[in-house]
């Protein structure tokens, strides 16, 4: 038996930065990488050269995050980029999404895997339409923790009253939207104040620095109580090595998958969905080694006492807290494709490991992400639109509301002609 859990290693935190180039987002990311020494000498040398070539006097940390040739030509970020740094106790994955209005889909993409979001606010410009939009997307995407970074404090003389006023204004926005657990930090990404180092300019601020918040933040949705208590494992593959030379393996059947929430131990009773058949867990394994338990986000193989029919796309759960099995569903969807949603067509819906055909029965409203107004029964959905939809499904899915369980409440829509991913959905 092995236990893989450690106390010194505080795991991995995925976070998202929301803001535009003007808010100093790239500078903030550059600062985090620079002050945690994740930037290496040759990258820095490269940066200096590029900065000089473009006539920038000092090293422009924002150049670190501008990746693609196409983007450099236009001087904007067109896609989600992932960056990495580590503090020794915790590893971080930054999803860097552009803040422009036309790229809501990129922010939705980056938000889908984030445990925490940093919303950047320019201290001089205050809470903008863009800030509200970012806050709403964070709420829709169910990001458990939000940090509002009031940046460019150096340009408002590090005035505590500016910070207090913006904090109050954002709290109103958060209350309207229904965004919970919001924290606030005043900072200057350019000068490096209150990000990794406290600096000397804001002695009036007694709260944690941005990095201190990140170091103590909950990982992997561990803040949601249901997440620990409610076991769900979508089955990815069934392992039947019956052609093996080893006779002991002739009857081996393992159900392979990644636990999306909760915990499972040998001896637990489980139900297989949608069939509803029950059995008892005999083994929780990884690579043929027995584990005492399997926990959320772990990829395991589960063996059962009885031979019941389970295949890819099915789900294992505890019988008392099993998810619902439905053939009709309501959801919020973000349309990702340049081709508008066509209600006459059939799409493939993938949720957990299950793929079913679906039709969009109804579009009750489209959400104006800037004003939060609901535009009733829109004729079409275009790229970057967010809307309520009603779905009819050809086969049942086993699911939870997204707000309860991101792993079993999320789905994508696939255009079966092009094979493109065209929609991202959150079940209600």
């Amino acid at each position: 038996m092995t236990s893989q859990h450690t106390t010194e290693d505080h795991g991995l935190l995925r976070f998202l930065t929301c803001g535009s180039v003007d808010d100093g987002k790239s500078t903030l990311i550059g600062r985090l990488l620079f002050d945690t020494k994740a930037i290496l000498v040759d990258t820095l040398t490269n940066l200096e050269r590029t900065s000089q070539r473009r006539g920038l006097s000092s090293v422009d940390l924002s150049l670190l995050t501008d990746g693609l040739q196409a983007e450099r030509e236009q001087g904007i970020t067109i896609d989600v980029a992932y960056r990495y740094f580590s503090t020794g106790t915790r590893k971080y994955i930054i999803a860097d999404a552009p803040g422009h209005e036309q790229y809501t889909r990129n922010m939705v993409t980056a938000a889908s895997t984030a445990d925490l979001a940093i919303i950047l606010v320019d201290a001089r410009r205050g809470i903008l339409t863009q800030t509200r939009r970012h806050a709403k997307v964070c709420q829709l995407m169910g990001i458990p923790q939000v940090v509002v970074a009031i940046n460019k404090m150096d340009l408002v003389n590090y005035d505590p009253q500016v910070f207090a006023k913006l904090q109050e204004e954002f709290a109103d926005v958060a209350a309207t939207i229904g965004l919970e657990s919001v924290r606030y930090v005043p900072m200057s990404a350019l000068e490096g104040d209150m990000i990794v180092d406290r600096g000397d300019a804001m002695r009036w601020y007694e709260g944690p620095t941005l990095l201190e918040i990140l170091e103590s933040a909950g990982t992997s949705h561990s803040e949601t109580p249901t997440h620990h208590e409610v076991f769900r494992m979508p089955v990815q593959l069934v392992c039947r090595p019956q052609d093996s030379a080893n006779p002991e393996l002739h009857d081996y059947r393992g159900f392979m998958g990644r636990i999306s929430s909760g915990m499972v131990r040998p001896g637990d009773e489980v139900v297989a969905l949608p069939s509803g058949q029950r059995s008892t867990v005999t083994h929780v394994e990884i690579g043929g080694v027995d584990l005492n338990e399997g926990v959320a986000e772990q990829s395991v193989t589960i063996r059962l006492a009885d031979e019941i029919d389970i295949s890819r796309g099915d789900m294992l759960a505890h019988p008392d807290t099993a998810p619902q099995v439905v053939k009709e569903a309501q959801a919020m969807v973000c349309w990702l494709s340049e081709t508008p949603l066509d209600r006459a067509r059939t799409y493939a819906l993938r949720q957990t490991t299950r793929t079913v055909k679906t039709k969009i029965a109804d579009i009750p409203f489209r959400l104006d992400i800037n004003t939060l107004a609901e535009d009733a029964t829109p004729a079409q959905l275009q790229m970057n639109d967010i809307a309520r939809i009603n779905l009819r499904l050809a086969q049942p899915i086993c699911c939870d509301a997204y707000a309860q369980n991101r792993g079993t409440g999320a789905f994508i829509l696939i255009d079966e002609a092009t094979n493109n991913t065209v929609g991202a959905g959150m079940l209600l």
Binding site: Q4, G67, L68, Q69, Y82, Q236, L249, V295
Partner: protein, 303 residues
């Protein structure tokens, strides 16, 4: 909170994600293959595949595109490891493409690295592979930082960075039409340090050239060039014996070692954690050409 919930360590989390990705390939694709070069990243990939699929066999063969310019220690290791695992290894070589005339070198000593794409695409066509699993990491290079975990390639094997499929949550879309294929990168989210820490934790064996050893080299520009039949010293250069190790292994003509006395994993981890030069910056002679070098090669079908 009512109880303490165990948090997966960062290596456990990365491993769990990588296993899930490999199993998705197996679940969604008809004819996948795993690229295995004998390099440290692909050695980690084999361990992940064991954890993902054992006690069954891997649901894919191992594939190596051999430039013919690899260090013999690495090739020996590749063959031995595949045999130990009892898995099928497919090797296709650049020499065959050259004989067919599909690869034409401008000069005999030209780096063969970028020509690998041709043989790779020919191999994909030969076996009708619909997904290749590779060990590329997003921390290696700027273009890779924006590539999807499941990355779509058209029927010319090209990557279009401006037209990538959205990738949300852990819902991967590996659907392709005939002739197109996917590349899947299970260790996208790993850094060089994560790889070394995983090698240590899993006690993975590596080819000997990853560890400090004495080798004849010349100093050329700011770099170290190992002296081999393919990379002889130029007139006037002084050959010296130096204690070096390789951080990455690839085509001899474009892979350089770094000066190091790290002769075991612990020392390598200490060096990597404290290093000041990025992996590719130190050791890939071909990436320095232009800022956009990698993006360009990926568009052409490189992995």
């Amino acid at each position: 909170m009512t109880q303490t919930v165990p948090t997966l360590s960062h290596l456990d989390w990365l491993e769990a994600e990588a296993i899930q990705i490999m199993r998705e390939v197996a679940g969604q694709c008809e004819r996948p293959a795993l690229l295995f070069s004998g390099g440290k990243d692909s050695i980690c990939m084999l361990r992940i595949a064991e954890k993902a699929f054992r006690p069954a066999k891997f649901p894919f063969p191992l594939v190596h595109i051999d430039t013919g310019h690899n260090y013999p220690e690495v090739i020996d290791f590749r063959d031995r490891r595949a045999a130990e695992l009892g898995e099928r290894l497919v090797v296709r070589s650049l020499e065959d493409s050259m004989k067919r005339g599909t690869i034409v070198l401008k000069s005999p000593d030209e780096s063969r690295n970028r020509h690998q794409s041709v043989t790779l695409l020919e191999t994909i066509a030969e076996f009708e592979f619909d997904c290749l699993i590779g060990g590329a990491r997003r921390d290696e290079e700027k273009a890779r930082a924006k590539e999807r975990i499941f990355s779509f390639r058209d029927d010319f094997g090209q990557w279009d960075p401006k037209n990538q499929r959205p990738e949300l949550w852990d819902l991967y879309n590996a659907r392709v039409h005939k002739g197109e294929h996917m590349r899947a990168f299970p260790i996208s989210n790993w850094t060089e340090l994560d790889v070394w820490q995983y090698i240590e934790r899993e006690k993975l064996e590596l080819p000997s050239i990853y560890f400090a050893h004495t080798r004849p080299i010349v100093r050329r520009g700011n770099g170290i060039v190992p002296i081999t039949d393919l990379t002889p010293a130029k007139a006037g250069e002084e050959i010296i014996d130096l204690q070096v190790r390789f951080r990455t292994v690839g085509d001899i003509s474009c892979t350089a070692p770094v000066e190091s006395d790290a002769d075991n994993i612990e020392k390598i981890i200490a060096e990597t954690a404290g290093t000041t030069i990025s992996e590719r910056g130190a050791t890939r002679l071909d990436d320095q050409a232009s800022e956009a070098a990698m993006e360009q090669r990926k568009k052409e079908g490189y992995f």
